[in-house]
């Protein structure tokens, strides 16, 4: 049942103490081509699940030993970025409010309709992919920024501040020609095609480095 369909297919973690429910839901989810990994206990799940996988978590609120809400809080505290969909047998407004406040992506009542669940899962996966992409981009930018020399970072900062080559040369006591060289180098190292792209990708990084 847990055989991956493709290595790139998103992975759904399903946590419910009831075996029949677990099996039925995982079958339903797998019909739309999502991989499912099922867990009977939240503790084992917390200890063993693949945090790097792309996908989402489906969590039953009512479980023996530990409440689904507590598990949700722990996941958020540990920085897990997979969206969490809460399932409950009898959801009260208060419980719903608490779940969203704790960071749930969705709150569904059991028995859950297939369309509602699948739509929620697909939304969650899309959201997670986007989050990861954004992280990826940021990560790449940081790596490239790290390759710059001290002088190149200074020049980059001034470029982003909107100074011309001449002005930069005056500020750093360099000839405009040297500035031009640094500029070409840093554009190459950062993989930027245009000034606009450079500013869009690196402005926050530079601010953070200078701040």
């Amino acid at each position: 049942m847990n055989t991956p369909l493709t290595s790139l297919s998103p992975l759904i973690h399903l946590i419910d103490d009831d075996e029949a429910v677990r099996n039925a839901l995982s079958l339903l989810i797998s019909t739309v081509g999502l991989r499912v990994q099922t867990w009977a206990e939240p503790q084992t799940f917390m200890a063993a699940f693949d945090r790097d996988s792309i996908g989402a978590i489906v969590l039953d609120v009512r479980m023996p030993g530990v409440s689904g809400l507590t598990v949700l809080q722990q996941l958020v505290e540990q920085g897990v970025d997979q969206p969490v969909i809460m399932l409950t047998g009898h959801g009260t407004v208060d419980m719903c409010r608490r779940a969203f406040k704790a960071g749930a992506a969705e709150f569904l009542e059991k028995p859950v309709n297939d369309d509602a669940l699948i739509e929620a899962l697909q939304n969650a996966v899309r959201q997670h992919v986007r989050t990861r992409e954004r992280h990826q981009v940021n990560h790449q930018a940081r790596e490239r920024y790290a390759q710059l020399s001290e002088r190149e970072r200074e020049v980059l900062g001034l470029i982003i501040s909107g100074l011309t080559n001449k002005e930069i040369g005056r500020a750093l006591a360099l000839s405009p020609r040297t500035v031009e060289t640094h500029r070409a180098n840093l554009f190459a190292k950062l993989g930027a095609e245009s000034l606009a792209e450079l500013i869009r990708r690196y402005a926050t990084l530079v601010d953070a480095a200078e701040g």
Partner: protein, 522 residues
């Protein structure tokens, strides 16, 4: 399954409570820890009651005593004034007599008419005369005669209080002396007191001498009233002195006792009323607690049931929907779909099993053996008593028409439960009409070996589409209602070989009729 067992326990105990008022006992127990505190408070409040009792009793007694003393004093002073007036009248009379004798002096009468005075005035014991030029042998008389001539009025010559007599002398041309019996001074026919038995002592006093006119009595303890005044005749310079003692024994003990008794009775009545009110309040509180506990338990029961039935339902839904999707694939995955359907069937059986287990454990124990004679009227009164606060709040006074007072063969707790629920139901219907139109008509009767109790309200009545379903479990028209009350009533009635029917009355409003077999008929 952990939940399942827990909620099964809950279910059973809930039902037992529902039926045997264990809830009341439980509620009473929860009150127990503050029992010591309450006892302390009670003792304290008793102290206060006793203090109030003592203070009020004492104040009343003091007031009664003061009032009595004041009255006695007034009576005493009135009597003393009368005595003074009577004695003064006599004394003045003596002056007049002597003046008249002096006038007679010119025509010397050998018959000596002055000697006949004693027969007219018994207090005059003797009269003596010295004509002009003659002298009194007794030195007091001679001195008095001289003095009398100087002041031109009679004067006292010799007073002998020990023997109760005195002499007066008046001299004009001739000189007369007159001896008076002091006892005769008092006009006993007009005397304001009983001379023998009166507690007032009356004396005449002059220059250290004292003559007792009335002895009086009473000990020297307690209160003392005094009166002292000169006689209104200068010729007889005596003081009229009256004294009265009022002792402890003469206080109005009867009134005081009556007052203390009255205060005790009043306070005891108040105390009893207050205690009754407290007991009533406590009973109401217990009832409310019982209702809350019941609601909480019901809520828990519902939550547990929901979870237990929800799990298989969730599995069934997911399995069937997955099967639908698998069959819609091109080509359809028939094998997996069949597997999913098999799981769905298993889960449906599981749900049925949950419901069955629930019903079996909720199943009422056979109560036929516990049926006993129940006085329907007493049960109705009991329910009315418990609901009185709510009825008062609604502004409804139930009318009870009693054609008979049937004794039915039933389970007393179940009967009270039914009556209570029917009344609650009627009250909820009455809430929906204006206060002026609220009427609750109860009737007790007997027919065909059945005791009949009916509840009719002047509410909006039962809608035609609701009437056939009114005893269905979980059927309710009330927002937030569980829909179990009437269904439970009907089940209970049927179990006791009775019936519960609902109808709309011709005069408007709903009417519920409970029929139960009477004793000896079942």
């Amino acid at each position: 399954m952990i939940f399942m067992d827990f909620f099964m326990c809950c279910t059973v105990s809930e039902i037992h409570r529902f039926r045997s008022h264990v809830v009341w006992v439980a509620a009473a127990k929860s009150v127990a820890p503050c029992k010591n505190g309450r006892m302390l408070k009670m003792r304290k409040s008793y102290g206060l009651w006793i203090l109030v009792w003592m203070a009020v009793s004492l104040l009343g007694c003091v007031w009664v005593t003061q009032n009595e003393i004041e009255q006695q004093r007034n009576a005493f002073e009135t009597d003393a004034r009368i005595v003074h007036r009577l004695l003064s009248q006599r004394a003045v009379q003596h002056d007049a007599i002597m003046s008249t004798l002096a006038l007679l002096q010119s025509s010397v009468d050998a018959s000596r008419p002055e000697q006949r005075l004693s027969s007219v005035y018994p207090q005059i014991l003797a009269v003596r005369r010295r004509d002009a030029g003659q002298q009194w042998e007794e030195s007091q008389f001679a001195r008095a005669a001289e003095q009398s001539r100087a002041v031109k009025r009679p004067v006292l010559a010799d007073a002998d209080f020990t023997n109760g007599r005195y002499w007066m002398v008046f001299s004009a041309a001739a000189s007369y002396a007159m001896q008076i019996d002091m006892r005769g001074l008092a006009q006993w026919s007009e005397w304001p007191m009983q001379p023998e038995s009166s507690p007032v002592r009356v004396t005449l006093e002059s220059a250290g001498q004292r003559f007792v006119l009335q002895p009086g009595k009473g000990d020297a303890h307690g209160w003392r009233f005094d009166f002292s005044k000169h006689l209104a005749a200068e010729s007889q310079p005596f003081d009229v002195v009256a004294v009265r003692h009022v002792g402890w024994a003469q206080l109005p003990w009867g009134w005081m006792l009556a007052w203390v008794g009255l205060v005790s009775l009043l306070l005891a009545g108040l105390l009893a009323a207050q205690r009754q009110r407290a007991a009533r309040r406590r009973a109401e509180e217990l009832l409310r607690l019982g209702q809350v506990a019941r609601l909480n338990t019901l809520g828990e029961l519902a939550a547990g049931m929901a979870h237990e039935v929800n799990q298989p339902l969730a599995a069934i839904l997911a399995n069937t929907q997955a099967a639908g999707r698998l069959l819609a694939e091109k080509p359809p995955d028939i094998e997996t779909a069949r597997e999913a359907m098999k799981h769905a069937v298993q889960q449906a059986q599981r749900a049925a099993e949950v419901v069955g287990r629930l019903r079996r454990s909720v199943e009422l124990p056979d109560r036929a053996a516990q049926l006993q004679p129940v006085d329907l009227r007493a049960a109705v009164n009991n329910a009315l008593y418990l609901l009185e606060p709510q009825l008062r709040q609604l502004g409804v006074t139930p009318e009870l028409a009693e054609a008979a007072s049937p004794i039915v063969h039933a389970d007393p707790v179940a009967v009270e439960q039914i009556i209570h629920n029917l009344l609650m139901n009627a009250m909820q219907a009455l809430e929906r009409v204006p206060p002026g139109d609220r009427k609750l008509i109860l009737a007790l009767s007997a027919a065909d070996g059945l005791g009949v109790f009916s509840v009719r309200d002047s509410g909006p009545g039962i809608a035609a589409d609701v009437l056939p379903r009114i005893f269905e479990p979980f059927f309710t028209t009330r927002e937030g209602g569980l829909g179990l009350g009437l269904s439970l009533c009907e089940t209970l009635a049927t179990r006791m070989n009775g019936t519960l029917t609902a109808a709309n009355h011709a005069a408007g409003g709903a009417e519920f009729v409970l029929r139960l077999p009477m004793t000896g008929q079942a």
